[in-house]
Amino acid sequence: MTRTVPEIIAIFLAALTALVVAAPVISIAVLALQPEAELWQHLLAYVLPQALRDTAALLIGVGIVALGIGAGTAWLISSHDFPGRALLLWLLPLPLAIPTYLAAYVYVDLFEPLGLVHRTLATLMPMPDAIKLLPAMRSLPGAIFVIGLVLYPYVYLSARAMFQHRSADFAEAAKVLGAGRWTTFRRISLPMARPALAVGLALVALETLNDIGASEYLGVRTLTVSVFTTWLNRGSLAGAAQLSLFMLAIVTVLIAIERFGRRESSYEFSAENPRLMARTQLHGWRGALALTACLLPALLGFAVPLLYLLHQSIRRGLLTTETTVWRDAGHTIMLAAIATGVALLLGLIVVIAQRWRASRLTDASFAIAQTGYALPGLVLALGLLTPVLFIDNSLNALARWIGATPPGLVMVGSGAAVVIAYVIRFLAVPTGFIKAGFERIPVDYDDSARAAGAPVMTSLRVIQLPLLRPALLGAVIVVFVDCLKELPATLLLRPLNVETLATSIYQYASRGSFEEGALAALLIVAASIGPVMWLARFADVPKGPV
C-alpha cells in the first residue's frame, strides 16, 4: 500500500521523538565510559555502601507505608459504608497534590525543636522533657514517614479500582459460604488486587527514586543524592553518569514489576459494566474506627501541609511582601504550558503513526516514547546536557563560520533545555492517555472514513480528535501539574534570571528559611488540587466507552 504524505511525516516525527527521548540515556551511557578509578575507590569506600543501604531502606520503608495506608483505606472505602465516607472519597487521593519535597520541608518545620509541636507540648510539660518526645524528622524513618504519606494515593487509586469493581461476585460467594469480612479480604480481595498493588507500588518506588529535595533535606543519602553530589561537589560528570546507569538498572527492574502487574490485571479494563460490590454498613465504634483510619492519612498527607502553608503565608503577609513569587509563577506556567503543548503534540504523533501504520518502527517509537517517565529527573538532566550543549556549540561555530555574532547558549539560555527535559520526562502521559482514548474508537470508523474517500488528516480532524477530547484533556492536566512540580531537572537546566516556584522554594529551604517560600509552595499545591480530584474521579468511573 502506498503511503500518503501525512503518514510518512507522522512516521518520521514519531521516530525522531523516540530518538530525542532516548538521547539522555545514550549520552549517559557514553559519559559513563570514561574511567574514574580514583573516584570509584572513594565511592566504594565511603559513598556507595551508605547510598545502597539508604536507598533500599527508603524504598522498602516507603513501600510498606504506602501499601499499608493505600490498600487499607482502599479496602475500607470500597467495601464498607461509614459516616464521612463521601468526604473521604475525595480527600484520600489529595496528598498527590503535595510534592515530596514540600512535605519534607513542612514536617521539619513542624517537628523541629522550638517548633509548633514542641511549643504546644511545652504548654503541658517542661521544654526539655517535651523535646524528648519529638520524632527526628531529619532521619531515614522521618523520610519514610513523609514520603510514604504523600505517595500512598498511587496504591490507593489502583487498589480501589480493583476492590471496587472486580471482587463482587467472589466476595458474595465467600459470604454465602460463611467467610467473615477479614477472611474475605485476606483470601479473596487481597490476592485479586495484587497486580493493582504492584502497579501502584512501582509508581511509588519510581517517585521515591526520583525525589531529591526531600531526601537531601532530611539527610538521607540515597543514590539520587549521591549522583547529585558526585557531579556537583566532586566535579565528576563521568562518575555521576556511572552512578546514574546503576540507578537506571534499578528502575528497569521496577518497570518490569509494573509491566508484569499490569499484564496480570489486563482484564480489569475489559468489562464495560462491572457490578459494584455491596458495601457493608459499619456502625458505632466500628464506623468511627474506619473513619479515623481513613481520615488520618488524608489529614497528615494533605490537610496538615496545606494548612501550614496557608498559615505561614497569611501570618507573614507574604501575599503583599513576596513580590518575586508572581514572576516565578509566570516562569513556571510559561515553561509548563509550552512543555505540555509540545508533549501533547508529540504524544499524538507517536500514537497516530502507530495507528496509521503499525510497523516495527512505529511500535518501537511508541515504546521508547513511554520510557522517559522512568528516568529520574536528575539523571535526565545530566544526560540532556551533552546533546543540548552540542547543539548550542554547533550553532555558535556555525555563526562564527558565516561571520555572524555567536548567539551564545541558545538552548540553555532560552529555557528550551528545561522544556525538552519536561517533555521527555512526561511524554508517557499523553501517549498513554491518547492510546487509551484511541482504543475506544473502533477501527471501523477509520476504515469507513477511508472507504468514503476522506484523507487521513480529515478523518483525524473531523472524527477522531473530537472523540479523543477527554483523553487529551486528561493528558494536559496531568502533564501540566507534573511540570509545575518538577524540581531536579529544572534546578540544573534553568537559564539566567529564571526561577520557577519549585526552585525558589528549594533555595529558601536550603538556606534554612523554608517558611518564607510558603506562598510559592501554596501556589503549587493549589494548582494541583483540582487536577488530582479530576484524576481521582477519572480513576473512579467504571471503565467503559467514553
Binding site: W231, L395, G413, N497, R511
Partner: protein, 337 residues
C-alpha cells in the same frame, strides 16, 4: 522576558536567539541567593548603567560553567566560601584578575597568589554558646576536643564546605595527624549526629540539646535582626569568637572569580572592582552581616557586638590546599555517622 522563552523554545534550532551578551550587561553566577544579591546588583546598575543578569544556586555553579564550555555566558562567579573558589580553580574555569584596585584594597592574605580569585568580604566560623549553661567567654578551637564538653556540641555535617574550611585550617595549623586526633575528640563531644544548617545548630543550643554550637558569624545576626520566629534562637545564645591556640579566629571568604571565557570581561572587571569598593562593602556588611574586607569600612553594630575580630593570619590559599585532606579525615573518623 516571557516572550523570550516562547521564542527560544519555538525556535529550538533557529539562529539568532536572544543571548544575554549585549554590551552593557554582565552575567553573575552566584551561590548567594538572588534576594541577598539584589541590593548590590541594583546599586551597581544604578551607578554604572550596566545590567546584571543573575543565576543563583546552592551547588554546582563552577561545574555548570565548565560544562557550558567556551560559549558559557558566565562572567563572574560569586561564592561564599573558599572551597568553592578553590573548586572553580580546579575546574579550570577561571582567568587571572588583573587589577591594581583589587591589589591595593584587598589584603594579600585574602587573594589567590595567581590571581584566580579574590575575597570581597569575610565571615568567621565561631561558637554559639548557651547563655545559661556556658560560663566561659573565651575558648580555643583546640579546646573543642576537650572531654569536658562531652555530649555538649552541635554542628552541621563535617563535609559541609564551611566545616571543611575550618578543618582544613586546623590541618594547616597542626598537621594531619594532630587534626585527626582533634576531630575524633570533637566527634566524641557531639550531642547528636551532625545535621541541619548553622541556624538549626543555634536552635538546638537554644532548645537545650547542646551547650555549644559551631556556626558562621552572620547567621546569628540574621536571626537576631530578621525573622521574629528565630530571634529567640539567637537570644538564648551568645557568640564567642574562638581562636587557635596562639593564633586568631578562622575566617572564610565570600569571593569572586572572573570566568575563563567571560563574554563581558570589561564589565565583569568593573563589577569585581566595584564589589571591593566602599559602597558595596557597606551594603554587603549591612544586608548579610559580614566583615568588610577593606579597611576603613564600619562594621555592622550587631557583628561588632561579638567583640574585636582577631583574624588568624594564615593565607586562605594555603588553607585551600588542605581541603581534600580535611574531607578525607572526616570520612576516616566517621564524623557524620
Amino acid at each position: 522576558m516571557i516572550k523570550r522563552y516562547a521564542l527560544g523554545t519555538a525556535l529550538v534550532l533557529a539562529i539568532g536567539a536572544p543571548a544575554a551578551q549585549a554590551s552593557g550587561e554582565v552575567n553573575l553566577y552566584t551561590y548567594r541567593e538572588g534576594k541577598l544579591v539584589a541590593p548590590l546588583v541594583e546599586a551597581f546598575t544604578k551607578e554604572t548603567g550596566i545590567k546584571v543578569n543573575v543565576i543563583s544556586a546552592s551547588s554546582g555553579l563552577e561545574q555548570r560553567i565548565k560544562t557550558e564550555g567556551a560559549n558559557s555566558p558566565a562572567d563572574v562567579l560569586l561564592t561564599v566560601d573558599l572551597g568553592r573558589l578553590d573548586d572553580a580553580v580546579k575546574a579550570e574555569v577561571t582567568q587571572p584578575i588583573k587589577s591594581e584596585v583589587i591589589d591595593k584594597t584587598i589584603p594579600a592574605q585574602y587573594r589567590d597568589p595567581d590571581g584566580n580569585w579574590t575575597g570581597i568580604s569575610m565571615r568567621a566560623r565561631v561558637i554559639y554558646a548557651s547563655k545559661d549553661r556556658v560560663k566561659q567567654d573565651a575558648i580555643t578551637y583546640e579546646e573543642l576536643a576537650d572531654p569536658k564538653w562531652k555530649g555538649k556540641i552541635c554542628i552541621r555535617s563535617g563535609q559541609h564546605i564551611y566545616n571543611n574550611g575550618l578543618f582544613a585550617a586546623y590541618v594547616t595549623k597542626h598537621g594531619e595527624a594532630k587534626a585527626e586526633e582533634w576531630l575524633r575528640g570533637v566527634k566524641a563531644n557531639l550531642a547528636q549526629k551532625p545535621s541541619g544548617g548553622d541556624r538549626e545548630t543555634a536552635r538546638d543550643v537554644a532548645a537545650g540539646k547542646c551547650d555549644l554550637g559551631i556556626g558562621n558569624t552572620y547567621y546569628w545576626a540574621l536571626m537576631m535582626n530578621g525573622d521574629p520566629d528565630k530571634k529567640p534562637w539567637a537570644e538564648a545564645t551568645k557568640v564567642i569568637l574562638p581562636t587557635f591556640a596562639g593564633g586568631g579566629t578562622h575566617v572564610n571568604l565570600s569571593g569572586v572569580i572572573l570566568a575563563k571565557n567571560a563574554p563581558n570581561k570589561a564589565n565583569a572587571m568593573k563589577l569585581i572592582e566595584w564589589l571591593a569598593g566602599e559602597q558595596a562593602q557597606k551594603i554587603y556588611s549591612d544586608t548579610n552581616y559580614e566583615y568588610p574586607i577593606r579597611a576603613g569600612v564600619a562594621i555592622n553594630p550587631t557583628i561588632a557586638g561579638y567583640g574585636k575580630l582577631n583574624a588568624d593570619p594564615m593565607p586562605i590559599a594555603k588553607i585551600a590546599t588542605n581541603r581534600k585532606a580535611a574531607s578525607t579525615l572526616v570520612d576516616k573518623v566517621g564524623f557524620d555517622n
